[in-house]
């Protein structure tokens, strides 16, 4: 006779088979880092696509009435940003020597996907991750600050025109004024959105004529401290470890990003996650190619059915929806180094065949070092 007691005993007896699962926490942290990276990558590229579709640095966006007035062309204090030696506590890409800084010429901002003209001095909290990004007309650094065991993201955005920054504060209202290194600055505030996105605070100012800056995140004191640490006196490279030898007709680079993660488990204490996006504008969308460091292929990438072989790599396709946009992704695992490569497209007209052609055209994934100082700057050359 089956009784509740017999069922209870049978279930309790199965406890004895509980696995030890050593290393599970490490696998969890590595895989969640990889997914967060992919999510951030595709989300940002959607924004770039919108920018491209809207005609780049569009002029039709009206300035918020609470925004600070534009700095005049008079010399005045030339640049209101931090300066001096770079702060080693903020992981940065390799330095570019001999390149013009945004402090000297603001038109270099977002003009070359291979160069980052944005810098950060000492942050108000320990830095866990920084994602450096260059897109046409703007550059950004998203910093994950450690605070009481949690990470809190602050995004620093630089552009040549205020209209580019205004896109990021859609739905936010003016919330007062302050100064950043003597320059007038404006606060904006956005309430929690219906989709669950939390409230956000923005601080916008113009450190010099021709450059607009915006810091977004939570906590005014923290944002003010990050704003005071922004610098425009150095140039870094946005390198990429692989060559992309095939891309859809008419497409070109629309985004370069390098995510640098503090990771005590790797030599040097930092791991590097580069991303490059290509697109042709219009309704085509973009294709995003992200490359993880050696050993990053922690999750299952080859399904029992539908496995794809690309050279030595094994992978699988997935499709679904991100929001209302159709998502295609191809995950590849390179067996010799354990590198993970993710190729994705969201919305637009590209499909799995395009992702496969891009994958087949990748060169140097297995042979590239993990240290980005030896990577080339332009994967399309």
């Amino acid at each position: 006779m089956i009784t509740a007691d017999r069922v209870r005993d049978a279930l309790r007896a199965q406890e004895a088979r509980t696995p030890d699962a050593p290393g599970l926490l490490g696998r969890v942290l590595a895989e969640s880092s990889r997914r967060r990276h992919r999510r951030r990558t595709v989300g940002a590229v959607t924004a770039v696509t919108a920018l491209v579709l809207a005609g780049g640095v569009a002029s039709g966006v009206t300035r918020h009435p609470a925004a600070p007035g534009p700095a005049t062309d008079r010399p005045g204090p030339p640049v209101a940003t931090a300066s001096g030696a770079p702060d080693p506590s903020v992981p940065a890409p390799p330095r570019a020597t001999g390149a013009t800084t945004a402090q000297d010429d603001p038109t270099v901002l977002g003009a070359d996907l291979g160069l980052v003209h944005l810098g950060l001095g000492r942050m108000p909290a320990p830095v866990q991750t920084v994602t450096w990004t260059v897109e046409p007309g703007r550059e950004s650094a998203t910093v994950d600050l450690l605070d009481a065991g949690r990470t809190d993201a602050v995004r620093v955005l630089a552009a040549r025109t205020e209209a580019v920054l205004a896109r990021d504060v859609r739905g936010a209202g003016g919330a007062g004024h302050t100064t950043v290194r003597g320059r007038p600055a404006a606060w904006y505030q956005r309430a929690e959105r219906a989709d669950g996105d939390g409230p956000a605070t923005y601080l916008r100012w113009q450190p010099r004529p021709g450059v607009w800056m915006q810091v977004a995140g939570s906590g005014r004191a923290r944002l003010a401290a990050v704003a005071a640490a922004v610098r425009l006196d150095a140039v870094h490279r946005c390198p990429y470890p692989s060559r992309i030898t095939w891309r859809p007709a008419g497409s070109t680079g629309v985004r370069c990003a390098l995510e640098i993660v503090r990771d005590a488990a790797v030599p040097g204490g930092l791991s590097y996650w580069p991303t490059y996006a290509i697109g042709a504008g219009g309704q085509n969308g973009t294709i995003v190619v992200s490359i993880g460091p050696a050993g990053s292929a922690t999750g299952p990438t080859a399904a029992p059915s539908g496995a794809v072989r690309v050279g030595a790599a094994v992978g699988s396709f997935a499709t679904g929806y991100r929001g209302s946009a159709r998502l295609w992704s191809l995950d590849l695992r390179y067996p010799r180094t354990g590198r993970h490569v993710s190729i994705e497209t969201v919305g637009g007209s590209y499909r799995d065949d395009d992702l496969l052609r891009v994958a087949r055209g990748l060169r140097g994934v297995e042979t590239a070092p993990d240290d980005p100082s030896g990577w080339p700057a332009d994967p399309l050359r």
């Binding site: 209870r8 406890e15 509980t18 699962a21 926490l25 009481a148």
Partner: protein, 175 residues
Amino acid sequence: MPADFEEFVAQRLPALLRFGTVLCGDPGTAEDVVQEVLIRAHLKWRRISRYDRPEQYVRRMVVNEYVSLRRRLWRWVPAATVEPAEPVPDPATHHAERAALDAHLALLPPRQRAVLVLRFYVGMPDGEIAEVLGCRPATVRGHVSRALATLRARMSDARPVPAPRPRADSPLEGT
């Protein structure tokens, strides 16, 4: 409750793995399910850590992942046959019956198994089980009743125990 994710995992992982093993009936599947759930929990830990009972929320994620996984597995797990427990003299009879009961528990639809685990192993009241599974308490009682009836019928049946095979979801699912 620890606000730090790694501290949470250090404190709760053994209990989550035990729960997962009993729920899934298989240690390998349990490890996969718990790992997947913790990855998702880590991605939204800022929000989860603000809840009054983060562990309950994570356990709910484990149940949902298990139910979802079992539904996917129905599509491709090959058919097989588990030999019946032979009637043998005591004390082996007890072990054979236990093995048969384990096999029949493994064949229950995932929600019915989850309800049995939550009620008889965890000791949750029906109201909380309903909250975890997103259904009404009456539905929970229905799952328990049908699961026990199925076990009684199968344990008194001398035929071999069929292993999971491709089939449509049970009509008892999703109620």
